[in-house]
Symmetry: C2
Subunit: 595 residues, 2 copies
């Protein structure tokens, strides 16, 4: 049974040595988030996720969820684990103290969420969806709605969902058919079928607060006619406690490839009582509040599975004996050498390590922008918002694509055992596989990056980032150890701008050029972003070694991984650049009948 | 429920227009394999696989195999389907008429095997393993063994297995612990545990013939001390019919990620009676007879899942309505446009199409080399053997890596529905995932290609192929439509030689250079091989169009896919070249403790 151990050392490296997060907390006046408290939280989080959540990961996958007459039961142990999770306050860390939250910064919340999700992704979805629901209510709800729902969602007594997708529409929410008919008392009667509703029904909480996209009878067509409604499973009574059962039911749960302990529900609303949240016909805006946060969270899924898979693969590679090193026996006392002596096993492990640690740097940096957008001065906030807009689709798509690649490699390291369920590696692949699909497919993320964010800002959002890269390269260009890497990065950074201009020019003639370039453009961007963070991390490691740190292995590992990334993974950026340069004709000239 | 339809038109394109297989059959004097018979076989194969095997693919996955007291039951319908398969003679097509086979060429057998495996991969493993077993007995058995076992294996009355792997050894067969003790009567008592035995126990056939690798008590250490034994489940009686039960039992079956309808067994041999096949201590050589064939077959698995996934994804992309074309509504009468209008959906479909059809060309070409090695003149045979040695690891690894990529894309086209079991796309991924792992991991294939085949022949095997590529490029260089593509191919072809020389030189100093370069070298090779076949296919298509063919869509589709491959996939070759040029230090400098 594989076991997850939170990689505290690497987490601290990014938090403290790369980003100085606790320094920022102090600068933001977050007096509670002292270094001591942060350390204690991380230590406790590591313990909780290792001892309580990790052991339920395999069993949860094997058992899955059950449904009987609309009642969904989660796998054995999940309910108790969720209770412990709530009692320990893990779910309320970043929530407002006004509703019982601890008011801790988002970045710290993200790191705990990483531990929870790495230990047991299916479990993490239940509180994860609640956070999104609470965030939307906090941003768009009336004071009464906030008082009522946030006081229940914050401690986790109630959980929440997002109900967007319908059988005929996922990406294209303008096609939503669910109807909301206004009633004399100001409420609405909501009727329709929603599918793929994560945690739509389960046995963990007293009540479930559904946020449902629906259309008023006279709503304009398309996305401009969508409104958002709070539709609780049980209607709150006069005291804000669980009251009458609402008329909605879970019709069935999906049989899926992975994340089997997370109930994916078909939800049938049949004249269910709903409460409008936000303005009429502005429902999609309210949902986007949740989606940006959710997209970073989904990006994290790539890191979480990649990390869990790496931990198992590394342990296996040190333990499994097979063949001799080509240089002669490395462990002559044993029947064969551990497979970590073989170059190709190392190639696989290093690819995983490079992607995971690059993703961690990217994700924590992005989460620190969430803090900045929340706590910093006005100008700094606007800057953070702009960077968040730019980096969020990269986090979502690049972290999940590379995370999936990492899990596939982690499975490959195990050979035939990687295909067998009990070893756990194949579950990492199955669970991870949904991440490039949901929360906006990675194709949609790429359109968002190139079309809306980069070209939509006339390149401004891109330039803000490439300027940072440029400054780093300038700083490093004379450096004996890293000058060549900085040169490579500077070249790609310049090319990034050129590719953007070139696609932008072509797109003025033909709007399909954006769609034809987007996925390769995002991948190119992802490799450059990773290259930027890897160079920064290597500089930190080098400085520590020069300062005489005793953690020689840790820092030398960073340097070796940075070199590996530049030499063996970064060349892929050029393949993506060439592919996207082929333009729309390479995709659109072929007629449908010619496929 | 997804349904497989054999892509007869594309199969015929490769068979007839690219390779003129039936012309070869005539030249080899295979009088039975007339064009009419070949057509009839293909038509019937398409019908059988669509009507009988395809419907059992999803149900077989859902039900899986069962074990009770060592008795394994296959999913509902499998036993009957196997009976029909045998009665129709599908299993005996390529077997010798001496034992009831039809004596048809291997290449035709491969194409029928493609249909069977695309419709239902798990099912295809039962006859697939039997073929391997029969091939080893045909090559290395005594006349008596051949008479006895081939007369049962050919009609499929008995099935066969290959028992190599043990709990502590897969790749490294030198570590085998299973013992074979000689008896006074010339038989052996075989004792040991074998794992991952595909079709090791089931309810489809009267008897199961296990080929077991084991060591004699006084055998030399390592691979030079391994012998091969026939160990039947039931010992043949005096009439060659099922007799006394042998002392071996299936201890358990594995719970796997995919190919769930194929029983993967732990086989316990406890003083089981075995019969030596081939020479003492030469067991591995005998097994290699089976393995070369099996490796091409496993390569086919990439094509089969890729093709099945493509068929479903294409149908879905034409049917699913979501968003409008960026150029304005393509289907204004509908609520939205079919997603095949979107550039990125086309990118995914074209990637699948390019890999699948490139793989089909490569595989059929390789299979035609099997015919050549069997039927042609002596010199031509040697040439075919040399090419087979070179192409087999490329088929196994590149076809399965690209096949897995294709299935992942086919799942992505479906969006959220791709993650749901009933749509079948996620099963294609799960079933395909084993292909890069078993029959020698793709890492091992890469070592075989670069180390044993290319460097081991001082580049001779490579040069035989690059010469073919060179001649093609020469022929095309002045062509208005394809001259530029030929130039690109010629450049990569030259680089192939240079990379080989460079790695070869470095390997003389450091043997780890081969292992460090191998996987990227194989990928580079695969892209060049595909580029070669795509240029050839495009030339055929162009000629047909110029000759006024009415199949305009079919041939234009070939041309568009060739252009797509060169513009958007082939650039990856350069990334692999750069990665492998980094050399062993990029992998070996990092200490184990620094991971």
């Amino acid at each position: 049974m594989p076991e997850y151990n939170a990689p505290l050392r690497d987490m601290r490296f990014v938090m403290d040595e790369l980003l100085d997060m606790t320094g920022s907390y102090a600068a933001y006046g977050l007096e509670d988030a002292t270094p001591d408290l942060v350390s204690a939280i991380l230590e406790e989080g590591a313990k909780f996720t290792n001892q309580v959540l990790s052991p339920l990961n395999r069993t949860g996958d094997e058992e899955g969820c059950h449904i009987e007459n609309g009642v969904v039961t989660t796998p054995k142990g999940f309910k108790e684990a969720y209770q412990a999770y709530c009692e320990n306050g893990w779910g309320s860390m970043t929530a407002s103290p006004e509703y019982g939250g601890q008011g801790l910064p988002s970045s710290l919340g993200l790191i705990i969420a990483e531990m929870v999700a790495s230990a047991n992704y299916s479990f993490s979805m239940y509180p994860g969806l609640s956070h999104g629901c609470a965030a939307a209510i906090a941003a768009h709800g009336t004071q009464e709605q906030k008082d009522l729902y946030l006081s229940k969602l914050t401690p986790g007594t109630w959980t929440g969902t997002m109900c967007l997708t319908e059988p005929h529409c996922g990406t294209d929410l303008g096609l939503v058919k669910t109807r909301a008919v206004p009633q004399a008392d100001g409420t609405y009667k909501v009727t329709g079928t929603k599918i793929f509703i994560s945690c739509g029904e389960h046995d963990m909480s007293e009540n479930i607060v559904h946020l449902v996209l629906a259309k008023l009878p006279d709503a304009p067509a398309g996305t401009k006619g969508i409104s958002l409604f709070i539709v609780p499973k049980f209607l709150p009574d006069a005291n804000g406690e669980v009251g009458e059962r609402n008329s909605l039911v879970c019709g069935s749960i999906e049989h899926k490839m992975g994340i089997k302990a997370s109930a994916t529900c078909v939800m049938n609303f049949d004249d269910a009582t709903g409460f409008l949240i936000g303005d009429i016909n502005k429902g999609l805006n309210c949902m986007f509040t949740m989606m940006n946060h959710a997209r970073l969270g989904t990006g994290m899924q790539g890191l979480c599975h990649g990390e869990a898979s790496y931990q198992s693969a590394l342990a296996y590679a040190k333990d499994r004996l097979q063949m001799r090193s080509l240089k002669g026996p490395a462990a002559p006392e044993k029947a064969a050498d551990p497979i970590i002596v073989h170059p190709d096993v190392r190639r696989m492990l290093l690819t995983m390590k490079a992607f995971n640690e690059g993703n961690r740097a990217l994700a924590y940096y992005t989460a620190s922008l969430l803090d900045q957008a929340h706590y910093a001065s006005e100008e700094a906030r606007a800057d953070a918002e702009a960077q968040l807009a730019f980096l969020t689709p990269i986090c979502k798509a690049f972290m999940t694509d590379t995370g999936l690649e990492a899990t596939l490699l982690g499975q490959q390291v195990f050979g035939g055992h990687g295909f067998i369920r009990e070893w756990g590696q194949e579950q990492q692949v199955r669970d991870c596989r949904i991440a490039p699909i949901y929360e906006g497919t990675n194709g949609i993320q790429a359109l968002d990056l190139l079309g809306r964010k980069v070209l939509g800002s006339q390149g401004k959002l891109l330039k803000a980032f490439t300027k940072q890269v440029h400054l780093l390269c300038k700083e490093v260009e004379g450096n004996a150890a890293f000058g060549e890497y900085a040169k490579k990065l500077a070249q790609l950074n310049a090319q990034w701008g050129e590719l953007t201009t070139s696609v932008g020019m072509k797109a003025m003639q033909n709007p399909e050029e954006v769609g034809a370039a987007a996925v390769d453009y995002l991948a190119f961007s992802g490799y450059v972003v990773h290259a930027y963070f890897w160079l920064k991390m290597a500089l930190v490691a080098q400085a520590k070694l020069e300062a005489g740190s005793t953690e020689v292995d840790f820092y030398k590992g960073k340097l070796a991984t940075q070199a590996f990334f530049y030499q063996r993974l970064l060349p892929r950026a050029q393949a993506h650049a060439e592919a996207l340069t082929a333009g729309a004709s390479s995709l659109m000239d072929i007629a449908v009948e010619q496929f």
